[in-house]
Symmetry: C2
Subunit: 114 residues, 2 copies
Amino acid sequence: MIRKTIDETVYNARGGEGRVVFSHILTKEELMGHGNVYAKVTIKPHSSIGYHQHVGNTEPYYILSGKGIFTDNDGTKTEVGAGDVCVIKVGEHHGLENLTDDDLVMMALIINEG
Amino acid sequence: MIRKTIDETVYNARGGEGRVVFSHILTKEELMGHGNVYAKVTIKPHSSIGYHQHVGNTEPYYILSGKGIFTDNDGTKTEVGAGDVCVIKVGEHHGLENLTDDDLVMMALIINEG
């Protein structure tokens, strides 16, 4: 079956700033108990996903386009761009900010603990 | 932790033609028993992923760029492009061909049966 994503606009995602659009590829039901979210995520200009913890699951970010500031579990902030994979372990924290005038686009997969 | 993908070139993927590059975002171990592959997949010009079955798991394709011909479980062939989600159920078949002179880029996630 061929279909489009289910798009969801979130303001102040995880306590962040501005507007983030989640283009859901699978529903939680279609993830069959293995995870919660599988989506292309567009962080709009001057918007962010706030720093937050993943309890019982993890969420790699894979940057497709744009530039962002990734905050890792130890608080380190690093500029990331297309091709970068931002990985945290189960139980750790992360966040991602778009300080630019262009969209920051990434893939997000929330996968449960093993 | 920020890192790059682990890139793997496959010829005649699943019995297809030509060359396909898998840019692995997570390893199988990092998928913690929930799946086998999470990758950006580049089907090079005039290359394909052959028609194949998913036993015990499923694999949505999410097209990022380029144009492809998706073969669904019933044998139907449909042109797909950026933003299209190609979904099959556990146990079903699919394949994807790039008949063009440009790369066809998509996200692939192989997720286990619930």
